[in-house]
Symmetry: C2
Subunit: 231 residues, 2 copies
Amino acid sequence: MSPSPNAPTPVAIPEPTLKRLPYYYKFIQGQREARRDFVSCTTLAEALGLNPIQVRKDLQATGAVGRPKVGYHVETTLDAIEECLGYHNTQDIFLVGAGHLGQALLAYPGFAEIGFNLVAAFDADPAKVGREVAGKPILEASRLSDLVRRMHIQIAILAVPAAAAQMVTDTLVRAGIRAIWNFTPTRLAVPREVLVQDENLLASLSVLSKQLENSRVKSHKESIHGKPEEL
Amino acid sequence: MSPSPNAPTPVAIPEPTLKRLPYYYKFIQGQREARRDFVSCTTLAEALGLNPIQVRKDLQATGAVGRPKVGYHVETTLDAIEECLGYHNTQDIFLVGAGHLGQALLAYPGFAEIGFNLVAAFDADPAKVGREVAGKPILEASRLSDLVRRMHIQIAILAVPAAAAQMVTDTLVRAGIRAIWNFTPTRLAVPREVLVQDENLLASLSVLSKQLENSRVKSHKESIHGKPEEL
DNA sequence: CTGCTTTCGGTAAAGTTTTATCGATATGGA
DNA sequence: TCCATATCGATAAAACTTTACCGAAAGCAG
Ligand SMILES: NC(=O)c1ccc[n+]([C@@H]2O[C@H](COP(=O)([O-])OP(=O)(O)OC[C@H]3O[C@@H](n4cnc5c(N)ncnc54)[C@H](O)[C@@H]3O)[C@@H](O)[C@H]2O)c1
Ligand SMILES: NC(=O)c1ccc[n+]([C@@H]2O[C@H](COP(=O)([O-])OP(=O)(O)OC[C@H]3O[C@@H](n4cnc5c(N)ncnc54)[C@H](O)[C@@H]3O)[C@@H](O)[C@H]2O)c1
């Protein structure tokens, strides 16, 4: 309750903001390559199809400061975002379940670019164990617990069949995992101190489909009630 | 502005709710298999680690009605969720970009279960064209536009390299696509009437990593300021 | 140098989503 | 039969996110 003595306001950054930061980062990188030194919220917003005020608030949250009439300094703003998202501090992570999805993730070079080192995968299928994908070994699932512990792995990617999800989670938790990136369509039961980020792809697709249905109804209504606003 | 004459309250269901519905669905299916006829918000919330009041509001949004002291009828509630998420009305969809991620999606049987029929993939790589993945053909990218139009495809999955994302999007839009499920880390420019659902995996991982960092700071603070609340 | 315009930062308002409160209803046991 | 209790539905409060507003700073044109 009492404010910390000298804490530099470590106000948690809202999740929607965190999800937008990578877009700003990518665009500002492009500006750097184009040899531009400054970029304004207006420009960013225009390019990304967002509200300029929202962009400004998001950048403020990273600690970046802008100059009126000029915008934000490209280099320092990139640094601020990197700092904010922790692109610097490299982190080793594991993947559990080297099936279709797991192997796609293994092969993906994008993680390394933002400071994650996907070290190894684990699988229960003997036919997969021993193979490599993109230079990453697929190890025996039975070794998971021990290696999480010994290598002090904090984050694991979960890409096993739904039926195995909770069991693997329990193993990870017992081994001391701190966060799980969950691609299974299961709600995982974990202790309060363990974080879970759900990536429920089916749910996302359902949302899209539902919104499509809504928009159909809406535009139909509009066309009936006569509201052909097209600008 | 004026209320529609006889519309059955087509209030748009909030996205967070839509994303939770599949979890309820899956759990209630389990209850059906266990021969239970009713399920309460309390039970659901307990099992899924959610707030019971939230569960109740979510179910209300689907149109399901419950009985005090008893809960929600399993069969009718499943129907309500199916109806709400459109699990019934089957829909053909296309995938563009049959690379690592695209092929994992092609092989995934989950889409069919919720009413989506992933008909075909399209790729620019001649080495991939002509092959099949899980019985789904990989077709020449040049045929995309024509087939979207002729088959009246409304939803496309975008899994091409970021560099090609906008170009493919433009093609899809010109061909009359209505919604794009976007796995590239790019913000797509589309006309207002086209929906885009972004699935920015790197952004999600960044969020998780940041939250982990926050929780570390917090628990450290707590341990200093003495706040070992453990219940 | 002066005024015009763009853009920032802070604060306030509006909109959404989550959580709380409370009366009503139905069930099961006294 | 009647009471205690679990649970629902509705309404309200709280928390969070997005959007708006306004004064100040800084570049630019004349
Ligand atoms: N493939 C997709 O596109 C896709 C899309 C959305 C969601 N998902 C979800 O992702 C998960 C994985 O999907 P997939 O298509 O890769 O499935 P998959 O069957 O191809 O792969 C699962 C892998 O996990 C391994 N495995 C099983 N039990 C294990 C255990 N106890 N420990 C370690 N490894 C174990 C299997 O051997 C297999 O290699 C599923 O939960 C699925 O619902 C996948
Ligand atoms: N693989 C992953 O796990 C992963 C994770 C997160 C994000 N993503 C994103 O998903 C996208 C695809 O990733 P990937 O790993 O599958 O890449 P990939 O390179 O394996 O596959 C891309 C495919 O797209 C095809 N392609 C290229 N240009 C095309 C065009 N104009 N029309 C049709 N097809 C075209 C290529 O031939 C290739 O088969 C990328 O944008 C990536 O950033 C992938």
